[in-house]
């Protein structure tokens, strides 16, 4: 008992010693706080008081003007419009009812605005600005300006609001700005750019607005102002001007863009047209579209639901986000691969009985047509599947993969847009990585057969197909595709031109390219695209395609019987004029059936618009 007691007492003694130390630490720490307070409030008091009181300076951010976005001809796609906002400071405005009464003599205020004003009066500080109305008309603003002496504490604020004059046209290219959200703040904080966004309330959310945010936004200036004891700015003490954001000139041609969009006639799909000489994107269509203006001030719930829940997915940027099997439009590239690998000569003939047998599996031609003896030229003109199926026994999937990769298939093209997806260019390695089960990781020869005609595991974006087509069109030079041609610095008038030198050359054999191109020309004369290109005034090289979505298991495909959403995609790839091409394009129309019926006529209209205008002397601007 005695023993225990002494132990307990000793423990208590030790604990009390530790507590005493803690008390000492608290007193020391608080003394430090006290000392610092003394320094601030007694020693530096004069200086700090003068900063706070008689010479109260406010550091105000001067938000920069956001850069405009225009097409290659100077047509505006995004601009800033000045709107007027009326706001009141509660401490200075007098009686609220009286104010509303007098203001409504010449400014329209609806019930909602009045209610909101009263509610916010109760919620905000005496010196905070409470908005009365946004978007005043010029007349209202002018009236108020003349009468403003009657309304102390009420001020007219000019505010820049982003506008997209083209509406739905090219909406997926331009994108939109929206209020700065928490995720944006986090990102800005991480890059130490948040300070630059003080005073700015919107940021690029999609499209060029997002991917070129760093140029469009500009640099926020700082203004130190002297303010009165009531917080009114008196005079500027120091000012660093904001640097306005750069204007962007796109390679897009809005005239061509509109023609291309109209050519879809309301169908869903994607189109990308590229100048094969420099990688400039001339038209970039994603249908259906949306109105980006809805997003600028925060989209209302109803419109958001309508857009987001639509089965047509208007918000999706199809050319870069949608990945599709590209069907027969893949064949020209496979033909090049066969030539390059020495597996086939241009004049090698393959007998096509309408099907190809691999083991016990029979792969049929579309429509089960038998074409007889087929060489490379004919294989493209009539689109013989068997000619390409049979390559499966001559080429490995990996050699095909290695040939296609430099074209950009299954790779991000690096176009200056957000949300680009990579797609799938199948290889044995890819399959090993993508599947978990051992037996699924193996590559089967039958799978190569489907890939050779652009089906199977392959999934490419239309952007990739357009890019590959451009590479083929110029004979093997890879230019990184881009939408922005130049950015203009408004302060010093300088222009930054986006580089248009090829990033790499594929080293294609000109003879091979010529053989394929001649076959593709024939496609538009006597082949599958002959109707769409009837009487065309310039030579066109192209290939139609039909991509199966629905596994028919050997039965006949009947367009009318298959559910509309499961019908085949209609595709076209091509370039014109086929000698010295100025435009290369890829088109996909979702669930539209045969490529020759739907996609090829769209290509005709776009090519006509570009190639023919370029030849007329009236053209306001021709591409370089």
């Amino acid at each position: 008992m005695f023993d225990f007691k002494s132990a307990a007492q000793r423990q208590r003694g030790l604990f009390r010693f530790r507590v005493s130390l803690a008390v000492l630490a608290v007193l020391v720490a608080f003394s430090v706080l006290g000392a610092r307070l003394w320094v601030l409030q007694v020693q530096d008091h004069e200086g700090l008081l003068s900063r706070a009181d008689s010479n109260r300076t406010a550091v105000l951010p001067l938000p920069p003007r956001r850069g405009d976005i225009m097409d290659r001809n100077g047509e505006l796609l995004a601009r800033n419009a000045l709107t007027y906002t009326l706001a009141a400071v509660p401490a200075e405005m007098g009686d609220a009812d009286e104010l509303l009464e007098q203001l409504s003599e010449f400014i329209f205020l609806n019930d909602y605005q009045r209610k909101r004003f009263r509610r916010q009066l109760g919620e905000s500080g005496r010196y905070a600005e409470v908005p009365l109305r946004n978007d005043l008309t010029d007349t209202e603003a002018a009236y108020f300006a003349a009468q403003s002496f009657r309304f102390p504490g009420v001020s007219l604020k000019a505010r820049w609001v982003r506008q997209y004059p083209q509406g739905q046209a090219a909406a997926h290219v331009v994108g939109y700005v929206g209020r700065i959200a928490e995720s944006d703040i986090k990102r800005l904080e991480a890059t130490n750019a948040l300070g630059n966004y003080r005073g700015t309330d919107v940021i690029g959310k999609k499209g060029i607005e997002k991917s070129w945010e760093h140029v469009l936004h500009g640099t926020t200036g700082i203004e130190s102002v002297e303010v009165t004891s009531r917080g009114r700015p008196m005079r500027t003490l120091h000012r660093i001007d904001p640097v306005p954001g750069g204007n962007l000139v796109l390679s897009l041609d809005m005239r061509l863009q509109r023609i291309a969009e109209e050519a879809f006639e309301g169908r869903r799909g994607a189109l990308v047209a590229i100048d094969p000489r420099n990688g400039e994107v001339l038209a970039f269509v994603s249908q259906p579209s949306f109105d980006p203006n809805l997003f600028v001030d925060g989209i209302d719930h109803e419109s958001w639901r309508a857009l987001n829940e639509s089965e047509d997915f208007p918000l999706i940027n199809r050319p870069v986000y949608g990945t599709y099997p590209i069907g027969s439009t893949f064949k020209p590239f496979v033909a090049l691969a066969a030539l390059a690998n020495g597996k086939r000569q241009a004049d090698t003939r393959i007998y096509d009985p309408g099907y190809f047998e691999l083991g016990k599996t029979r792969f049929r031609n579309a429509g089960s047509v038998a074409y007889g003896n087929v060489d490379l030229h004919k294989s493209l003109v009539v689109s013989s599947d068997t000619y390409y199926y049979s390559l499966a026994s001559e080429m490995t999937i990996d050699s095909l993969h290695d040939f296609m990769k430099p074209f950009g298939f299954g790779q991000k093209t690096g176009i200056d847009l957000d949300t680009e997806r990579q797609g799938v260019l199948p290889s044995t390695e890819w399959k090993k990585k993508s599947f978990k089960k051992k037996e699924q990781q193996r590559w089967y020869p039958g799978e190569t057969v489907s890939v050779l005609i652009g089906q199977g595991y392959s999934a490419f974006t239309i952007m990739q197909l357009a890019q590959a087509t451009a590479v083929l069109a110029n004979g093997g030079d890879y230019f990184k595709p881009h939408l922005v041609r130049t950015s203009q610095n408004l302060t010093d008038g300088t222009r930054d031109v986006v580089s248009t030198t090829p990033t790499h050359s594929l080293g294609l054999d000109p003879d091979h390219v010529r053989a394929v191109t001649e076959a593709l020309e024939e496609v538009t004369i006597t082949g599958t695209a002959r109707r769409a290109f009837k009487d065309v005034a310039y030579p066109v090289a192209g290939k139609t395609g039909t991509a199966q979505l629905f596994n028919l298991k050997g039965s006949q495909y009947n367009k009318e019987e298959v559910d509309e959403r499961l019908r085949d995609h209609s595709l076209f790839m091509g370039f014109a004029p086929s000698k010295d091409p100025t435009i290369a394009l890829a088109i996909l129309v979702e669930n539209a059936g045969w490529g020759s019926e739907i996609a090829a006529p769209i290509a005709r209209r776009v090519m006509d618009a570009w190639v023919l205008r370029e030849r007329t002397p009236l053209a306001e601007s021709s591409p370089p």
Binding site: A7, V19, A22, Q41, L48, E123, G125, A190
Partner: protein
């Protein structure tokens, strides 16, 4: 009737009056300053008044509970708090770049707040159980129990709360008798670390320097403290404006509701983390020192309760909770007057916000429970 009277008597006896009066005085001052900070009586003032009533009720209920019961729920409290913290990691709601909140369907809670109480509770319980048999291993285990929630909260990221939780745990280790052979070098090491940061400011704050364990924004906060003028529009703004506010207060202050810095919106976050700037501007050095004295009294009262407690549980819990109060006050005021980096730590009883206040109420209730439930008979 008698029983009701007895119940009331028990209720009154459950209160530790010195602690209660100091806290009540602080609350009253807090409401006064909040009214000035919001520029009149608006919804925040009404909210905060309501929170105070709820806080008193919570404090009272906790105070009535005997410490033995508290010890019994300690492991459960810690387990639940830890589970919720892990839940935040996967299902948390993100706001202003940090994932701190968890929506349980009925209410949105901030598990890190619960941890502030649960951790000292658990450690006090653990050291009580291992009394007389403590080995180095016990301290190692206890350290791990502190480190897990600490890093979970740092990850959110919420450096301020992590700091409070970490300090409460380390304090518990110290009061449970962690050898001075470890305490002294640790204190020296921390001092040396802070010294190094101050000395090598320039190279440390160079943009290319990566601080490995800290987030970029946390690095920014430290560097902004070292030289606020580097980012006058961004992070430095808070510190510059709050020191101007405090300094312009002078000896006697600008007068209630008349601090121009606060009233004209120059002090950022003036109802929450930076409310001390409003107070110091309007009440001056005398007011600020009074406030410091009151807080010191509160903390010392807590430590007195600890030293009077008869068992390890009471001692360790009361002492570490007192240290939590100290860290709250020191870090908050230190940050407002530009001594410490801007971390999100509110000023107890002053900053607007219900969640933190409830945590404080529970802490006060625990202190009272320990203070008022000294066993008449020695439990052994």
């Amino acid at each position: 009737m008698i029983s009701l009277f007895n119940l009331l008597l028990r209720g009154v006896r459950a209160i530790d009056w010195p602690l209660f009066l100091i806290a009540a005085l602080l609350c009253a001052m807090g409401l006064l300053v909040l009214q000035s900070a919001v520029g009149g009586t608006d919804w925040r003032f009404a909210d905060q008044s309501r929170y105070f009533v709820i806080a008193v009720a919570i404090m009272w209920i906790v105070a009535i509970v005997p410490p033995a019961w508290l010890a019994r729920v300690a492991p459960l409290a810690y387990g639940v708090a830890l589970a919720l913290l892990i839940g935040v990691m996967f299902f948390g709601e993100t706001s202003k770049g940090a994932t701190r909140w968890l929506d349980l369907g009925i209410a949105r809670i901030q598990p890190s707040e619960i941890m502030k109480i649960a951790l000292p509770l658990l450690l006090a319980w653990y050291f009580q159980r291992r009394e007389q048999r403590l080995t180095a291993f016990d301290f190692l285990l206890a350290f791990v129990l502190v480190a897990i929630p600490f890093f979970l909260i740092v990850r959110q990221p919420d450096l301020g709360t992590a700091l409070l939780v970490g300090v409460s745990g380390i304090a518990a280790l110290y009061f449970a008798g962690l050898s001075f052979k470890l305490v002294v070098p640790a204190v020296v090491l921390v001092m040396a670390g802070v010294g190094t940061v101050l000395f090598f400011e320039d190279s440390l704050c160079a943009p290319q320097t990566d601080w490995v364990v800290l987030h970029e924004y946390q690095k920014g906060r430290v560097c902004t403290l070292l030289d606020p003028t580097t980012d006058p529009l961004g992070k430095g703004f808070h510190t510059i404006q709050s020191t101007i506010a405090v300094g312009s207060g002078g000896l006697y202050g600008q007068g209630y509701m008349s601090g121009t810095q606060a009233q004209l919106d120059f002090v950022p976050e003036r109802t929450t983390d930076f409310i001390f700037a409003v107070f110091a501007e309007e009440f001056g050095l005398y007011g600020a020192l009074t406030l410091l004295v009151l807080f010191a009294l509160l903390i010392i009262r807590g430590l007195v309760i600890a030293s009077r407690a008869t068992d390890t549980f009471g001692r360790v819990l009361a002492a570490s909770l007192s240290v939590v109060f100290f860290v709250y006050v020191f870090v908050n005021i230190g940050m407002v007057i530009g001594l410490l980096p801007v971390v999100g730590v509110p000023l107890p009883f002053f900053s607007y916000g219900g969640t933190a206040l409830m945590t404080l109420a529970v802490a006060l209730g625990l202190l009272m429970s320990i203070s008022r439930h000294q066993p008449v008979l020695d439990s052994r």
